[in-house]
């Protein structure tokens, strides 16, 4: 519990013209911790995710990642090669649209194997075994291993993207609205799957969502963003059941009770 944060950001600011996408944002995420960033569209949450994962450079502030040896790395000055290595080993990124995270021209098994191959796996049988195992873990019939993702439903594609991302056992996974484009019935299954995998693998997850129910189910901790600022943060059930900030109260009041 006293361990240092895995990812730590301080004073992040970024403007798009006159609009402050990020205004002095600070955040930290510890090993095994699931943190959700909630807020309406345009609140800056996706920008924050992109800045934290090194895909977008902030105008001010710093993002620090601690590797498994505990050595801190400044994400925005580590160089592209090192950042890429991070993105295909220690980190994962799950996109809202599975088509952005999958290779649609490559079979399900090839999609799952890509990160393994990128990190040096050179045994075909081993790759097949890993792909089979992961298809099962994300509840896709392993007999579909050679099927192209285009033949899968949206929910299956999203589960495939998750398998493809988690196969290398990353320590930190960024998720951008992972249930965004899915039917409600499919969402529940995906959320439960994510919840189980996150717990089993002890993943740290940074989840951007506007789905309060998803945040409640998955996240240990919640950050509420508005106009590029973190207006409230804390334990998920505390923020949702006893919101302090005016905007959080509005956000929670707008959700239909389930």
């Amino acid at each position: 519990m006293s361990d240092a944060p895995l990812l730590e950001a301080r004073g992040l600011s970024l403007r798009y013209g006159p609009i402050a996408a990020l205004d002095e944002v600070g955040i930290e995420i510890h090993p095994g911790e699931v943190v959700a960033i909630v807020g309406e569209s345009g609140s800056g949450k996706t920008t924050l995710l992109r800045v934290l994962s090194g895909l977008l450079r902030p105008e001010a502030g710093s993002v620090t990642y601690r590797d498994p040896e505990g050595t801190p790395h400044a994400v925005h000055s580590m160089g592209e090669a090192a950042l890429r290595r991070l993105h295909r080993s220690d980190w994962g990124f799950v996109h809202q649209n599975p088509r952005d995270g999958l290779r649609m021209g490559v079979s399900a098994g090839g999609n799952i194997g890509e990160r393994l191959m990128a990190t040096g796996a050179r045994h075909y049988g081993g790759l097949r075994a890993a792909a089979t195992e992961w298809l099962q873990r994300v509840e896709i019939d392993p007999s579909r291993i050679d099927t192209l993702p285009g033949k899968f439903s949206g929910g299956m594609q999203q589960r495939l993207q998750i398998a493809r991302t988690l196969v290398t056992h990353p320590r930190l996974v960024f998720m951008d609205e992972p249930t965004g484009g899915l039917d409600v019935s499919v969402q529940a299954r995906l959320l439960d799957l994510l919840r189980t995998l996150v717990a089993e693998l002890g993943l740290a997850v940074l989840l951007v969502t506007h789905d309060i129910a998803a945040a409640r189910l998955l996240a240990h901790r919640l950050l509420v963003m508005r106009h590029g600022k973190v207006v409230e943060q804390g334990l998920t059930d505390r923020v949702l059941d006893d919101p302090q900030h005016e905007y959080t109260q509005l956000l929670v009041a707008s959700v239909l009770a389930a």
Partner: protein
């Protein structure tokens, strides 16, 4: 033989040759890395070997002996034209014998006779980028090379094995050069890939339309990509050459009539002729 008057030696002007040689030096210094160069208009169409010809023109000297092969044969139109071209514009000696040549320009094959130190093998390359079918964005392929991020190429091999049970690449089989750069060996048969590895001769690759030059210096490691449990296997037609009986050489399938008749013969004409001559001589003794 003397060069025809009115042309600079080797057709290209000296500054162009100097520019190409600089690119070649850089290519040799960074094995497998594609170096851009200012490809010139040549008196033959793209796809006929404009890249190879410019490389040859830049490295050839008056004392060199040139051999040109196309699909292994010295007597095809393209090979004959290029050989004649250099005889005219550089006045160099030409040969069909692999062992006698100092510079060999090739399209689609590596000679069967092992090359030795001091020889230069110049490849004509239509598409130098091994990743181009997998990653359409040129900037992204460059980034992948810069970062040695080649997982995607293995994904392609994985897909082949999943679909066909083996890697279904029979030509232009991708290789890793000196454990660093992924390289297209040009459309030579995968059968020839093992000859790239630690070859004593200097290997130069020229792509005229794509304006790229790359190289494999002598004795450089060149590995064909594969999986531990699906190792690279060079394949050839399972037959002896109908003319020389070789069971080692790469064979062309020749259709002999309209009724489905066919025969397999060596694609390397010099190799085949040499073996036939030796067999005749042996029989005579």
């Amino acid at each position: 033989m003397s060069a025809e008057a009115g042309y600079n030696f080797g057709y290209l002007d000296e500054n162009t040759k100097r520019m190409i040689r600089r690119a070649l030096l850089k290519a040799v210094a960074v094995p497998g890395h594609q170096v851009p160069f200012g490809s010139r208009e040549m008196p033959l169409p793209y796809g006929w070997g404009t890249g190879g010809i410019q490389v040859t023109a830049s490295v050839i000297g008056p004392d060199d002996t040139l051999k040109v092969i196309d699909q292994g044969a010295d007597d095809t139109t393209n090979a004959v034209s290029i050989r004649r071209f250099f005889a005219r514009v550089a006045g160099v000696a030409t040969t069909e014998r692999t062992g006698e040549a100092t510079v060999i320009q090739t399209r689609h094959r590596i000679p069967e006779t092992p090359l030795r130190e001091g020889q230069i093998l110049v490849y004509q390359v239509p598409m130098p980028e091994p990743l181009f079918r997998l990653e359409p964005r040129v900037a992204e392929t460059k980034r992948m090379h810069a970062l040695a991020d080649y997982g995607l190429m293995h994904v392609k091999l994985y897909e082949d094995i999943a679909r066909h049970g083996h890697v279904a690449i029979s030509y232009n089989y991708p290789v890793m050069v000196a454990d660093r750069y992924l390289m297209s060996p040009s459309p030579i048969p995968a059968f020839d890939n093992p000859k790239l590895h630690r070859m004593p001769a200097l290997q130069l690759f020229g792509a005229g339309r794509e304006k790229r030059i790359y190289a494999v210096p002598p004795y450089t490691d060149v590995r064909s990509l594969d999986f531990e449990d699906h190792p690279f296997r060079p394949v050839r037609a399972d037959a002896p050459c109908a003319l020389c009986g070789s069971r080692e050489s790469y064979l062309d399938e020749v259709v002999t009539d309209d009724r489905g008749g066919r025969m397999f013969v060596c694609s390397d004409t010099d190799y085949c002729n040499t073996r036939q001559a030796a067999a005749t001589q042996e029989a005579a003794e």
